[in-house]
């Protein structure tokens, strides 16, 4: 009835505009650079990764071990479980210039790396 329509169309409009705004924001930026990391023997290869500062970056982390690992970083605010043999996509950034350590939470003694934004 007439009572419901203004509220409902208002909500639809709001989400429509929000979606358009977010699409505009994401397509305005160029595609993020892709950086590949491999986990092998509970170690990261490479363990030191250079990324451009102030840009979103796409990490593709391949877990070549048979056991799961969790890619985690306090500084980057990222955590993701990667099952054995799987490749995970993790977006990081935009980062201020600096060093951002990351580690494998399941094997923290060995699985350590750092993202250097410059």
């Amino acid at each position: 009835m007439a009572k419901n329509n203004p509220g409902r169309s208002g909500i639809i409009c709001f989400f429509g505009i929000l979606w358009l705004a977010m699409t505009a924001v994401s397509t305005a930026a160029a595609a993020p650079p892709v950086i590949e990391i491999e986990i092998r023997g509970h170690l990261f290869f490479p363990s030191e990764i250079k990324v451009p500062a102030d840009r979103k970056v796409k990490l593709k982390v391949h877990n070549a071990d048979p056991t799961p690992e969790e890619f985690e970083s306090y500084e980057l605010n990222r955590e993701k479980v990667i099952m054995g043999g799987q490749t995970a996509t993790i977006f990081i950034g935009p980062l201020r210039p600096g060093r951002y350590p990351f580690f494998g939470e399941f094997h923290p003694e060995t699985a350590q790396g750092v993202v250097i934004a410059e």
């Binding site: 977010m22 979103k56 048979p66 690992e69 969790e70 605010n77 479980v81 799987q86 977006f91 201020r96």
Partner: protein, 270 residues
């Protein structure tokens, strides 16, 4: 073994805080705890099943499946906790429960089971990862057991700590605690969506790592309780603060009686 303790403790702490506040809420509503075993069992079973399928789930939505699942669970718990907080306000003070006992039990079960699935999945996967390696498995299980034990102990402390307060303070502290936990989960959901590129990413708004660093003990405790982040993005911080205010306002509004007066004389069902 120490890393096993810490890893399991982190997950167990988050879950046990939620479990305790839900058990206290159940007491406030005057419902018996008969629903609790159902929630625990479905939570643990759900965690095992999710762990089993996490590989498949992670591939969905072009690799964003894991983040989407986590965000969905976190948002679900946030909504349920909001409902529970509102019900505390209406039922305990006004004796005007907006929903029946079955519905309240459903909310409590839903929130507890989902929270356990969310934290438990990681624990299951972690332990499963060491089941290949007999040598490492025992210390991992021991360490995990210790971590779980510590986490549960903290939950027990919170439970009895809350119930030990004078009745009128319980009715204030519990909803505030729920609001803090729920708004933290909402901001965690936002973080997962940013990680999967489903929400825009931004430069951090501030860096409080100099005061409370995330890996420190205090940082970890605050993370478990309110999803403390040293470097939140504006979107994250905004959702966190907005959700906190929203739940607190909703709960405060719930305490107001129909004629606009606050009811301070209501006897809570404790």
């Amino acid at each position: 073994m120490l890393s096993a303790v810490i890893i399991i403790l982190r997950e167990a702490l988050e879950a046990s805080l939620i479990v305790s506040t839900l058990l206290v809420s159940s007491r406030i509503f005057g419902i018996s705890n008969r629903w609790t075993p159902w929630a625990l069992v479905s939570g643990v079973a759900g965690a095992a099943i999710t762990a089993l399928f996490l590989g498949t789930i992670s591939e969905w939505f072009e690799g964003a499946g894991q983040e989407l699942l986590n965000a969905a669970m976190l948002i679900l718990v946030t909504l349920l906790l909001t409902g529970i907080s509102f019900c505390i306000a209406r039922c305990a003070r006004r004796n005007k429960c907006p929903v029946g006992i079955r519905a309240m039990q459903a909310m409590l079960i839903g929130a507890m089971a989902t929270a356990i699935i969310r934290e438990g999945t990681e624990i299951v996967i972690y332990i499963y990862g060491f089941s290949y390696n007999g040598q490492m498995l025992v210390p991992v299980l021991l360490g995990g057991g210790i971590g779980l034990g510590i986490g549960i102990s903290v939950g027990v402390l919170v439970y009895y700590g809350l119930l030990g307060l004078p009745a009128r303070y319980i009715l204030i502290v519990t909803p505030v605690l729920i609001a803090l936990v729920a708004s933290g989960m909402a901001s965690e959901a936002v973080l997962y969506l940013i990680q999967a590129n489903w929400l825009p990413s931004q430069m951090p708004l501030w860096d409080t790592g100099g005061w409370i660093s995330e890996p420190s003990l205090l940082g970890q405790l605050l993370y478990a309780l309110i999803a403390y982040e040293a470097t939140p993005t504006p979107l994250q911080a905004g959702v966190h603060g907005f959700t906190l205010l929203l739940i607190l306002s909703l709960t405060a509004w719930g305490t107001i009686s129909k004629d606009g007066n606050h009811d301070k004389s209501g006897r809570p069902a404790l």
